[in-house]
């Protein structure tokens, strides 16, 4: 199958393949570039950037759970200024699209960040994090408030010509309604899902395992939830979906695409095997060849449902 083409276009964002590295799981690319050729992945999504640097939460920030992990990093990041002066120059060395993930506590802050980054050629898209559960202001409150998500989308859309992706919170009962307002307000795509709110306590000290009490649950434990959310959105709204949550191997990626995803993000898996994105890409290619498929669109949302029940 010499005509296999895994490329995909989302808004003006052109990806050579659907494998993206998820926000917060590869920093700004430096460390993981020692393990893999970054030019081979479809794209890199930066750790959430905020207007000012954020120190993040006190330790303990990480706790392992059955087939998953809780994190309460608290959006620790270098801030807009250092991102521009230090991180973009590094990323410019690679021939791979950069998607800049942005977190903020106010509507204005989102807009300001996007404006400040709009003229950097290297950045091909914005992913707006309205759904991080680990900070007190902003974060989750936004992600679960549909009018706020609409407003953020609308305002950020006015400030950028780049591809605009809204990263949705899974901690809602009607995620497709959120996807719908994103579309209506000009988003090019949605990412589903961010982490689920979780917690854990130590039975001897009675203290929370995380200093922040709450953390975000990620990893294979949440994959069935992520698949359901992607499917729900796909059924209800005509907008490209970037699937994320619990991907551990190429089979999981195929499952997300069948459920409706145009592209996917590898998150927690990068911590366990930083080379996984590359081997997953190989697995996907083999699947496509074996199934006589030549493009992502042939597989995307191609689930087969029985009629009735």
């Amino acid at each position: 199958m010499s005509n296999l083409d895994l490329s995909i276009k989302i808004g003006s964002l052109e990806l050579s393949n659907p494998i993206l590295l998820a926000s917060g799981t590869v920093g700004y690319g430096n460390e993981i570039s020692e393990f893999i050729d970054l030019n081979k992945v479809g794209g890199i999504i930066t750790k959430s950037i905020s207007l000012k640097p954020r120190k993040g939460n006190k330790p303990q920030r990480i706790f392992e759970t059955p087939a998953g992990m809780l994190n309460a990093i608290g959006l620790a990041n270098v801030g807009l200024e250092e991102f521009i002066s230090q991180k973009i120059p590094f990323l410019e060395k690679f021939d791979v699209p950069i998607i800049c993930n942005i977190a903020a506590s106010t509507l204005e802050e989102y807009v300001e960040c996007v404006r400040a980054l709009e003229n950097f050629e290297k950045i091909k898209a914005f992913e707006i994090n309205v759904s991080c559960p680990n900070v007190k202001e902003g974060g989750l409150q936004f992600g679960n408030d549909i009018r706020m998500v609409a407003k953020i989308t609308e305002n950020v859309r006015l400030s950028t010509k780049k591809t605009l992706i809204i990263k949705l919170s899974p901690n809602v009962s009607n995620i497709s309604d959120f996807a719908k307002v994103c579309k209506e307000n000009g988003a090019d795509a949605v990412s589903a899902i961010n982490t689920l709110v979780g917690s854990a306590f130590d039975i001897n000290s009675r203290k929370p395992k995380l200093s922040n009490v709450f953390g975000g649950l990620s990893g294979p434990a949440i994959k069935p939830i992520a698949i359901a959310k992607v499917f729900e959105i796909h059924r209800a709204v005509d907008i490209p979906i970037i699937g994320v949550g619990g991907i551990m191997n190429w089979q999981d990626v195929i499952e997300f695409i069948i459920a409706g995803a145009s592209a996917v993000q590898i998150g927690t898996l990068n911590f366990i095997d930083p080379t996984a994105s590359i081997s997953i890409l190989e697995g996907i290619k083999n699947y496509f060849v074996n199934k006589n498929l030549t493009s992502i669109n042939q597989l995307k949302g191609s689930y087969i449902l029985d009629n009735g029940n």
Binding site: G24, T25, V26, G27, N30, E31, I32, E34, F35, K47, P53, K55, G56, N57, K58, P59, Q60, R61, I62, F63, E64, P66, A67, G68, M69, N71, I73, A76, G219, P220, M248, T268, N270, F271, I272, D273, P274, T275
Partner: protein
């Protein structure tokens, strides 16, 4: 940094409940330095999901030694590995001990499994300068004596050596040597490291000449700087955390807030 599947070549119980596992990895053995660590995936499946960090205990040709006790699921699986089975290693990780010759007397301070990095450090110091080791534990069953030179022991229950904690013992004993230029290498629970740190600062305020490097611990997800899961307070900048995995695990005691 490399990722390799390594075979378990030898497996000893050096004392009750304390295991020494020798893993074959020529590439990592060649590169790794004392105080650096490995992040090990003990099983293929999703349970446990994350790697587990272990200090390099020693290096012997193309074998890396790790020393551990059974705490939870990860170390239990590791302890059940048979010779010939494999584990997946990511390493070498972090910054090791700073091995220079800028001291007269080296002091080792270890609490519990904090004993792990010292055999390799001992071998690499390799400069004929004197070493004194202080090792502590709750009882003598918990004191790991493995390969410590000039060993002095502290137990909290007094079952062996000095009755009290290892930092108190160190404080008592070191007084005779305080005219010398001393370099302390410490590894153990953060509480112990904190009291070492306080003591060193006090001595230095009193005009003595001690440097101290501590090997710290933290919960970790990645082990190489991408998850931000392992912060430790930067003592020079209140608005900044350092990362145990990448900026450490060994720090000069002046650089961090314990």
């Amino acid at each position: 940094m490399l990722i390799t599947n390594s075979v378990v070549v030898e497996f000893l119980e050096i004392q009750k409940g304390i295991f020494l596992q020798k893993l074959k990895s020529p590439e990592i053995a060649e590169k790794i330095k004392p105080g650096q660590f490995l992040n090990i995936k003990v099983s293929e499946g999703y349970y446990p999901l994350l790697r587990r960090p272990f200090s390099v205990c020693d290096v012997e040709d193309d074998l890396i030694h790790i020393m551990f006790a059974v705490y939870g699921e990860g170390t239990k699986i590791l302890a059940n590995k048979k010779i010939g089975e494999t584990v997946n290693i990511l390493g070498p990780l972090g910054n090791g001990f700073n091995i220079d010759d800028d001291y007269d007397l080296a002091v080792f301070l270890a609490g519990g499994l904090g004993a792990a990095p010292f055999p390799y450090l001992t071998r690499k110091l390799n400069n004929n300068k004197e070493i004194i080791s202080f090792v502590g534990g709750r009882s003598n069953k918990e004191v790991i004596k493995y390969q410590f030179p000039n060993l002095l022991i502290a137990t909290e229950d007094g079952s062996e050596g000095f009755k009290g904690n290892v930092v108190q013992l160190f404080e008592n004993e070191i007084k005779k040597f305080l005219d010398k230029k001393i370099k302390v290498f410490a590894c153990g629970p953060n509480g112990m490291l904190k009291s070492v740190s306080n003591l060193i600062k006090r001595f230095n305020e009193e005009g003595k000449n001690l440097t101290c490097e501590v090997s710290t611990e933290s919960a970790m997800a990645c082990g190489f700087g991408i998850c931000q899961g392992c912060p430790i307070q930067d003592s020079h900048d209140p608005n900044r955390y350092l990362l145990v995995c990448k900026d450490g695990p060994v720090f000069n005691v002046n650089d961090i807030e314990l």
